[in-house]
Symmetry: C2
Subunit: 314 residues, 2 copies
């Protein structure tokens, strides 16, 4: 049985686990992300790997990180959340651990995991959209992860959907993830609570009486309880999801969309408006097969599992 370690480097924590050929996590461990310093993060990764290797014999390490990874899957070119620039993560971790290392964009790794072991199993042409704080994207075409010429493909969150629209952390305006994300959900909920106080009373109460006190998980809670204003927020964000998927289908024509991330925990509250608007706004609708939109199955562990599987020598 071939085992590898998957590592998920996030802004707040570094998670690592030993993963087998079926995508099952045998054991996992995590530590807080020490600081923005690449050296400290690399030390943490090495420490987690040492810990995991005490019990298991592993052949390689796959690291998933949010950011632009180069085409050689070796260097983090640009990671806004970690403030990294041109960090040779592969070689540093390989030297520290003595194991082969592959570095992959976290959303690409998650898409690969859903293709291999999750909601997209058996589907060769898959687009995975992770709707969390922002949007992560991954594309599997013909059964292969599509990474782009420079390794920077599938940055769906930064498609422009509104000319001169809301500002984005990437420096542009009107990016999809400003309208379809946990951040967008909060934007709606706080706006309702602020200006439509009766309609937004439940949201306001959950926020402790302050619009700024409302968090995404509370919008989901209120929507699941049937609160009209909270449902309205999912209708808005779900509609933007459907619009963006229609653009992606026009370009990539996948067989299946897999939608994951924290916002997708709301399930059909997000997916129903998305499916309706997708079918309405797809070019040539009525004259072409409609791609299925499925919920992701692997949850928060998709990035770790996918990175581990991509590190496996096949």
């Amino acid at each position: 049985m071939s085992l590898t370690i998957g590592v998920d480097v996030g802004g707040t924590k570094v998670a690592a686990g030993v993963v087998d050929e079926q995508g099952d996590i045998l054991v996992s461990t995590r530590r807080p992300t020490p600081s923005a310093s690449p050296e400290h993060v690399e030390e943490t990764i090495a420490a987690l790997v040492t810990e995991l290797r005490r019990e298991h014999d592993v052949e390689a390490i796959g690291i998933g990180a949010a950011g632009f990874i180069d085409a050689e899957r070796s260097t983090v070119l640009f990671a806004p959340n970690l403030a990294w620039r041109n960090e040779p993560l592969r070689d540093v971790v390989s030297k520290r651990t003595g194991l082969p290392v592959v570095v992959e964009n976290d959303a690409n790794a998650a898409a690969w995991a859903e293709h291999r072991f999750g909601a997209g199993r058996g589907e060769p042409d898959l687009v995975c959209v992770t709707v969390g704080t922002g949007i992560g994207g991954g594309v599997v075409l013909g059964g292969q992860l599509y990474r782009g010429r420079h390794g920077i493909g599938a940055e769906f969150g930064h498609m422009n959907v509104v000319p001169n629209g809301r500002r984005c952390g990437c420096g542009q305006r009107g990016c999809w993830e400003q309208y379809c994300s946990g951040r967008a959900l909060l934007h709606e909920a706080r706006e309702i609570a602020d200006v439509q106080t009766e309609y937004g009373a439940r949201l306001l109460a959950l926020g402790g009486g302050e619009p700024e006190g409302i968090e995404a998980v509370e919008v989901t809670q209120a929507a699941l309880e049937g609160d009209a204003a909270a449902l309205d927020c999912f209708e808005e964000v779900g509609s933007w999801l459907g619009k963006g998927l229609a653009d992606l289908a026009a370009l990539l024509d996948p067989g299946v969309f897999v939608v994951g991330g924290g916002v997708a925990d709301a399930g059909k509250l997000l997916l129903e408006p998305a499916q309706r608007v997708f079918a309405e706004q797809l070019t040539g609708t009525g004259h072409r097969p409609l791609a299925e939109i499925r919920l992701a199955r692997l949850g928060n562990e998709a990035g770790l599992v996918g990175a581990a599987d991509l590190a496996r020598v096949r």
Copy 2:
């Protein structure tokens, strides 16, 4: 020397030619598109093939047509300009001619030709944008034509770029090709001639004194003469080209963009604003390599040459 026939089925003419392994057209011929009836078009294709086979021994036929072609490259699912629905073009033409036939979307065929013999030679990850009356798209990834799960990928012209924007023939609103195309160029030129009569005097004169009399070729002519209003039209359309290419780069991260079609005959008048806006609006700009934007080399014959090459048994 292996020879194949390429056929380009357009709304006004059907062109066919014998093409060799280097992408050279040995002989070509054309007839007006007889009518919207599939049967008459199929007769015309068969007649052109018979004519070409008198002098040359060919092994297969590739047909490029504007529309949705299925994943088996056999059936025209939907062709708005030809009013075709579920037409089994491959089998009908194969039966009439006794030769193997491949049917391909015309813009896909053009992209393949530019990859094999034109501006994208040697580039494995190529996105081709044909800016004519509308926009045609084709994608080559890893040296293979990417067709999508159902054969309907690369419909770039129907990315939404303006929510609730200009109406499109596809039934939606705000599609890219309503802002970046020959049609969009005319929209600008006629609007200027209509409401800014002094600024638009040269355009109005070329239109015989009527805004509606202005044609795209005249806007190009005036721009090449240095007319400020005509240059303004290319600035506008070129900017929209750059914006859309930034979206495509965020998603597909190609090595090279190839821009063809009638509007691209204006060369740098179109490409300079496109390159500037592309570099400005690309997500993560400054932290990633910039894809090169090149003019197509094969002109109107790209579709015919590409279809012929795709029909070749390799």
